[in-house]
Symmetry: C2
Subunit: 347 residues, 2 copies
């Protein structure tokens, strides 16, 4: 047999492993990594393969970033804010409470320098990351009793993640860290009074409506929640330039398609939840105002202590101010009119 | 010299021409085609080159689709609705009046079967198309006098595109077709009373605020306006499979980045327009209701006459009903609260 000609392969073989922070049962979030990986494989004629593993198959979900930093795997797909305890700056990649919605996040990522600013920080952690999915504005979660006043939050035992928990603690909430699979039992037994999760499609699978009927909105701590595909920085830099572009574009496709999937799946789930007894409740103005004030206190504290956080937060804040000024015209009045038509049965 | 080894090129050379329907001065829209083409080139190591030409360089902007269908060029970047006169179904690829916003369009395109349904139709025209840009909700345009009642629309000479013009004609508006560069003079002379264009960033360049101070919203005929990159179907099918994926992902990146660019640029332009004398005015409920009713009449007529239109319209309508039901919870209340904070100076 003849040796293969010694020319450089245009599309060299790479086989990478990606650890997801999510179980396969969260098919919408987990699926964004699968979508991204499939696009990369197709775009390279099968030569760049990213194998996707669910949380726990290689490392637990909350060790995803460490596993990428230390080279155990080449990639992860995660919510950056899980790692805010290492450095609060990780929070800003996923969701900045009371700030941008998902459309604003995308504008800031792509055209506002956001992806580059985040990568300046992620690079210090040995990571290079691109947006790869968004949930849109999340729901505020499930409560066993109504929240009518700020006092109703005092002493409330609520399953809620780190940074948002830190904010709510200022109002007397006792935040609890409980894994997804254990929340239902905790709510049923009364070990907790409330839980937040994601939105109708994901929440329905866990059946929270059976043990906590008040379904509050909005989830002001996640006006949008962005997922990221993170690569080990050294491994990323070893990729041929055209593979970097292919990977980025596949991430941004995953970014758009995950939001699209939630947007297609949430309406039917919402209708079913209401049919099954969920009672929809908006947080009232007093409650939101108190939460907003507590949030500003936390930002003041973290900004004072962490220059990397402050730099990125300031950029997001400046854009959000402009964005809400503009979007209250055509976008908001168009949506408002269409919602009126929908509610009155004219759509 | 030795002959090159006779192996198939992994990334074969393709050089395509793309005709844009837009001038370079509309840098945000025109730029989406440039962004897409740059990503394709980078992702193929320079081997798949799409050369972007402004409207008029090869064919006029409104002949873009014909030039692709007949193979004069391999691609165009256009607003499908420019060609609604050939077949009203072309309208549904860009903007369906009083229906989806841009986020809903993306959900419908990517996860609601929309891109496939549109391509079923586009294929009958010798085209294969992918979303490549969105303006978001457009403004309603510039008016020399206030529109306070439905009667104020009667006899109004307004520069407005085809399908939307057909709707407004039912209310007595006399729609005018005027090229972008000629609108200012027509408004100044009083040949027309009003014009719609896009939104603050594009409108500011044409200086409409100097000759028609009332700036109305929302542009209900374009709750979102999607651009498409369209390829000649035969040429598309000649591409290697991995080039098809690369092209699609680059289109979707262009899709996201164009919306992002408008979202970053519109706020500053809006502030400057208001500083320069533009007076913002929402269309009131009576006016919107009359326009909504006229729109439903047009849909009834077109649906009765055109089964291809009806099939796609029905799919969009079914999704829009669900989408507005769901988005009025967290998304809308979150945005509303943030807009209140912005207006009160607390953001």
């Amino acid at each position: 047999a003849l040796a293969a000609p010694a020319i450089a392969q245009e599309n060299p073989k790479f086989t990478w492993r990606l650890t997801s922070s999510f179980p396969k049962s969260l098919d919408t979030i987990y699926g964004a990594a699968e979508t991204m990986a499939a696009r990369v494989k197709e775009a390279t004629g099968g030569n760049f393969e990213i194998q996707v593993f669910a949380a726990g198959e290689i490392v637990p979900g909350l060790q995803a970033v460490d596993a990428v930093s230390d080279g155990t795997v080449e990639m992860c797909h995660t919510a950056s804010y899980y790692f805010w305890g290492k450095d609060a700056t990780f929070q800003l990649g996923t969701a900045t409470p009371f700030l941008m919605n998902s459309r604003m996040q995308n504008a800031w990522f792509i055209e506002g320098g956001g992806t580059d600013m985040l990568n300046e920080f992620y690079n210090t952690q040995g990571l290079q990351a691109y947006p790869c999915g968004n949930t849109g504005a999340q729901m505020g979660g499930w409560f066993r009793k109504e929240i009518n006043t700020i006092e109703d939050l005092n002493g409330l035992k609520m399953r809620i993640g780190g940074f948002a928990g830190k904010i709510l603690a200022k109002l007397g909430v006792a935040p609890q860290q409980i894994a997804g699979g254990d929340i239902y039992a905790a709510l049923e037994k009364g070990t907790i009074d409330a839980t937040e999760w994601v939105g109708p499609y994901d929440d329905q699978k866990l059946g929270f409506n059976k043990v906590a009927k008040y379904y509050y909105y909005p989830g002001w701590w996640e006006g949008g929640a962005a997922l990221h595909a993170m690569t080990n920085l050294g491994k990323y830099n070893e990729l041929p330039e055209h593979y970097k572009t292919i990977l980025q574009d596949a991430c941004y496709f995953g970014n758009a398609s995950m939001q699209a999937r939630y947007d297609m799946k949430n309406p039917a789930a919402l209708k079913q939840l209401v049919a099954d007894g969920a009672v929809l409740r908006p947080f009232n103005q007093d409650v939101l105002d108190a939460c907003y004030a507590a949030t500003q206190e936390v930002y003041a504290e973290v900004n004072a202590a962490n220059p990397a956080f402050k730099k990125i937060y300031d950029s997001q804040l400046a854009y959000a101010k402009d964005a809400y000024l503009w979007q209250q015209l055509s976008e908001y009045t168009f949506d408002t009119y269409m919602m009126i038509q929908q509610r009155s049965g004219k759509l």
